[in-house]
């Protein structure tokens, strides 16, 4: 099980601040594809960064059971 956190516009589009995912290990790139295909509001996920356990992750990074994933749309702090 992995937890996927959503923020800002993605939270509003999906109506969820957390998605719990029950598939086994997969890469960041695979997760993005699946989310894009399955979750309404996440169709256009290309512009979103992925953080795994609070660090930005590349598409080839493997996500394991218990990891906390976050979808990070373009930031606008400051």
């Amino acid at each position: 099980m992995i937890e996927i956190l959503l923020f800002a516009g993605l939270k509003e589009k999906t109506g969820q601040n957390k998605i719990t995912w029950h598939e086994g290990s997969l890469t960041v790139g695979e997760l993005k594809e699946k989310l894009s295909a399955k979750v309404p509001g996440l169709e256009q996920i290309d512009y979103v960064m992925i953080a795994v356990n609070e660090a930005y992750a590349q598409d080839d990074q493997v996500i394991n059971e218990g990891d906390v994933v976050a979808l990070i749309p373009p930031v606008s702090g400051g």
Binding site: L5, F7, A8, G9, L10, E12, V28, G29, Q44, D46, Y47, M49, I50, A51, E54, A55, Y56, A57, Q58, D59, A70, I72, P73, P74, V75, S76, G77, G78
Partner: protein, 155 residues
């Protein structure tokens, strides 16, 4: 004193952030304060809402402090960013950098604000008279072809 790199949901006291970087070997402190501006390109902002992925945002602010330390080893940096609803002229972010000499303080402070806008998971929602939108998101003009922001991400 609070943490050097902090996300808060209440008003920021600038002096509290300055106090974190005061040092007998500092001769210069540069402070950058980001405030809520009323007019942007002729449109009137009513208020802003900031949201953060708090633990990661604090980690990323600390990373900016590390970047500054690696370029200017004598620098001391503190950054506080506020989230929640902010009205016109409210302070969203305070960056303080102290260094022995002024050139580094200016450059490091500038580095910090640029990097906040690149790598720190904080989002701003503008509330206008005619609606609202998440800055940098709704328009979807900004994309990351490499899947992550560039500049030091894989260091």
């Amino acid at each position: 004193m609070g943490k050097l790199f902090e996300i808060v949901d209440s008003p920021i006291i600038v002096q509290d952030v300055i106090n974190k970087v005061i040092d007998p070997n500092a001769g210069a402190i540069n402070t950058f304060i980001g405030t809520v501006r009323e007019m942007t390109k002729g449109k009137k902002t009513l208020y802003l809402e900031y949201e953060a992925y708090i633990p990661m945002a604090e980690t990323q602010l600390g990373r900016i402090g590390d970047e500054i330390r690696s370029k200017w080893p004598e620098a001391k940096t503190a950054i506080t960013h506020r989230i929640g609803r902010l009205d016109i002229s409210d302070i969203a972010v305070v960056i303080c950098v102290s260094t022995p000499h002024r050139d580094a303080a200016f450059k490091a402070s500038r580095h910090a604000i640029e990097r906040i806008k690149e790598i720190v998971p904080i989002w701003k929602k503008e509330h206008w008279e005619n609606g609202d939108f998440w800055v940098g998101n709704q328009l979807e003009t900004k994309s990351y072809p490499e899947g992550h922001p560039t500049g030091g991400e894989s260091q």
